[in-house]
Point group: C2
Chain length 204, copies 2
């Protein structure tokens, strides 16, 4: 043991700088992908937005795909945290509806996710394994949120949280696709009725 304690303080030193730089790049990439689309956006445009060298961006994220995955991970983790907090406060249906209403403001993010999920369903797609885990994580995390709230009696008893989670995600993806295709399609009312039906089925 050295007499100089080597416990790295959080948010200082070169690792913290790397983490902060990566977070800046991820935030800039999210804006660029929203503005120019995933195909239209480029690592060069992201570097320009941040006044960073192209080489520096490439150092942290070797390809545009690495960066997209970082953007999606950030996005998913924020959404999942908020959703699971809301489930205990508002109940499963109102929590999910609140998130769906927030997403009405960002059709381009949702469209990007819909296209990527479908493309990456091919087992030879470079992001395939990541999307397999992404859907597992979303289902498992939502099911865990439902089970925890149900066991704490914050919401009425749910017998089959796994069924409810996978059917919620499916109905949501599907109604959202119909809304992305035709924004006149009212997804929120249908989503609420569908969620309530699925929750009743999962609580029998």
């Amino acid at each position: 043991m050295s007499d100089t304690p080597r416990i790295a303080p959080p948010r200082r030193g070169p690792y913290a700088n790397t983490a902060r730089r990566k977070a800046e790049i991820v935030a800039a990439a999210a804006s660029v992908f929203m503005r120019s689309g995933y195909r239209g956006g480029s690592l060069r445009e992201i570097a320009r937005d941040l006044e960073l060298s192209f080489t520096s961006v490439k150092h942290h994220f070797p390809t545009k795909e690495h960066l997209l995955i970082a953007v999606l991970e950030e996005y998913d983790s924020l959404e999942t945290e908020q959703l699971n907090r809301d489930i205990a406060l508002l109940g499963v249906v109102d929590a999910a509806i609140a998130l769906a209403v927030r997403n009405l403001d960002k059709p381009e993010t949702e469209r990007l996710l819909a296209v990527m999920s479908a493309e990456a369903s091919s087992s030879d797609h470079p992001a395939h394994e990541w999307f397999v885990r992404r859907y597992e994580n979303i289902r498992n995390s939502m099911a865990a949120g439902i089970r925890t709230a149900s066991e704490a009696e914050a919401i009425p008893f749910v017998a089959d949280a796994d069924f409810v989670a996978s059917a919620f995600v499916a109905l949501w993806d599907g109604l959202q696709l119909q809304w992305l295709i035709d924004p006149r399609f009212d997804m929120i009312d249908r989503l609420r009725r569908g969620f309530e039906a699925i929750l009743r089925e999962g609580s029998r």
Copy 2:
């Protein structure tokens, strides 16, 4: 009025030849898109398969997109006819499940449709208007099938066939996406429970 009746006999003459040729090209295109994917498939490959000139294929279908739309129209119209026949015979849930089970054999077709639907949701995509109509047609045709069977008392009374149709399509697209991403995901059991829940909600 001429004394020579000008009623064109069906399936003869140059128009019938055109229709037959177009149908052949559509069938060949469906095989090529299944084999090579939509991006990988080309009008040249389709022409080669049919031993036709490239010019002849281009004469009937100026772009690959025209041909894809013809393939999807053929595919949808066959599916819709069969589904609506089955609804009166088997009931709404069993009819939809029978179709979903048939589709388990053609993941590549379903994947192509999932990618295309998401891409074409952008209002600047060349096939956008076609996909807007496609989803309207699928919902309307399924709702009409349910209403007809319900009014004929072939199935129990359904109060809101429009809700049932749009939620069925959504749950189906969504569970199918989860299955396309991970073929170990059992979509059929979840689809049946979800369909039954939605049908109960639409029958209240």
